[in-house]
Symmetry: C2
Subunit: 257 residues, 2 copies
């Protein structure tokens, strides 16, 4: 993948493997009709797709815009992906490959779920414009995504979950995770009642009571996570609280071992 960003334009980080020396010097556009498929691969397409969504939101992700950013003819792009749906599967697969499932099989179920859930939330908090798409995108033909679900499903089964409840339990956790990812990006003053504070005394007192309350004695955030670094973050407090409840409640489904 070659890119010629304009000066002063800040681009999201691209994996080092995708960066190539700018052998075309000052030349902005490559000759039309002569895309080199050698510089185009699925990882490069994925990185460019994420860059488009970061810059312009989900609606900015079109095959035409993708070809332009990659500086290839659309026909070259279609050699690698047959549709926008294909691109979305690549993006889904990439994001899911970033989610940490390493604790399943290595730590108790509760801990593994917490590690997975914090990691999953943090990945999507960085990519909220993709949540509406990926939350309803089939996993079919997405190998990394299926690998994540395979590891998590095995973790639940080994922990004693009845097989027929595993998917519901995972979906419940994912719903909480996706919603919580938005909350990470909410403004600090989202619950400021403004001029209506006097007419909403219970809510206003709850908002004021929450402000400044630390996670002390309740932090479930792994060491080094945002919550550990800044225990006051409201989004992390709510996530830790909800995750505790879900882990405890869902854990009750397990058969006695």
């Amino acid at each position: 993948m070659r890119r010629t960003p304009r000066k002063g334009q800040k681009l999201p980080a691209v994996p080092a493997a995708q960066q190539r020396p700018a052998t075309d010097g000052g030349i902005r556009r490559r000759r039309a009709g002569r895309p080199s498929s050698a510089v185009l691969d699925k990882a490069g397409i994925t990185a460019a797709a994420l860059e488009l969504v970061s810059r312009k939101g989900y609606d900015g992700l079109t095959m035409a815009a993708l070809a332009k950013l990659l500086e290839v003819a659309p026909s070259a792009l279609y050699n690698h992906v047959s549709s926008k749906q294909d691109v979305l599967l690549l993006v889904e697969d990439h994001l899911m490959s970033l989610v940490d499932v390493s604790s399943f099989g290595a730590a108790p179920w509760d801990d593994a779920v917490r590690t997975w859930a914090w990691s999953y939330r943090n990945v999507f908090a960085e990519h909220t414009p993709l949540i509406p798409v990926i939350a309803v995108l089939p996993v079919t033909d997405a190998p990394q995504t299926l690998a994540m679900y395979e590891t998590v499903s095995k973790g639940f089964l080994d922990a004693g979950f009845p097989q027929e409840r595993i998917i519901s339990a995972i979906v419940a956790l994912e719903s909480f995770i996706f919603g919580s990812a938005y909350d990470v990006t909410a403004p600090e003053d989202i619950f400021d009642p403004g001029t209506m504070a006097e007419s909403t005394p219970y809510f206003t007192a709850a908002v004021r009571g929450a402000a400044g309350t630390a996670l002390r004695g309740h932090a479930q955030a792994p060491e080094g996570s945002e919550a550990a670094a800044d225990p006051l973050r409201a989004a992390d407090a709510a996530f830790a609280l909800g995750l505790d409840a879900l882990v405890a409640g869902l854990g009750g489904l397990r058969k006695a071992e």
Copy 2:
């Protein structure tokens, strides 16, 4: 609000109070520069905004498109709302006014939370394109929204919740609710592993085990809800399961009465 929908074009329902007899007969467009502010009010603007989002997604909601749909000059629209942000507050307030908080104070806390949560999820399942916006929209100056939070906050306090944990508990529930609203719109085959079924045996078995499993003995859906009508719905099963866990887990925060 007057609208002249094209023949055959299906429009989302508009509250009866917003419908006016078509006194302009076959005339499609009102004369430019002569908008009548008498036919324009906040409820009409809200209904038109929801209609735009339904038709064209969130990006379709612009002040220009709104004025066009309402058949008024933009200046007339700006007499009622000063910005798109104002329109969003109207939309937020309208949707939140549809959420059922009537059980708080009238039923035990657990039941009230369940009624509220199912209602909240169902409202947003009908308006998923607005979730990314409303999930991070400040509640300031949104009277109906604040009224909802006031009732819910009082319900939590009266049930024995420590004041400083009420907002976190509500946010945790809302995160689950927003994520679950997407799940209602997911395709039935979202977890079809396709050709990779053999390489993902645990996940595939879990998906097959879930299919056809009823909510029997576990249904928390209120009578008459979708889940009660169709107990097989996967989204409702996951929502009921997660909500049970959250209600049980969060309920543990309550002080002994």
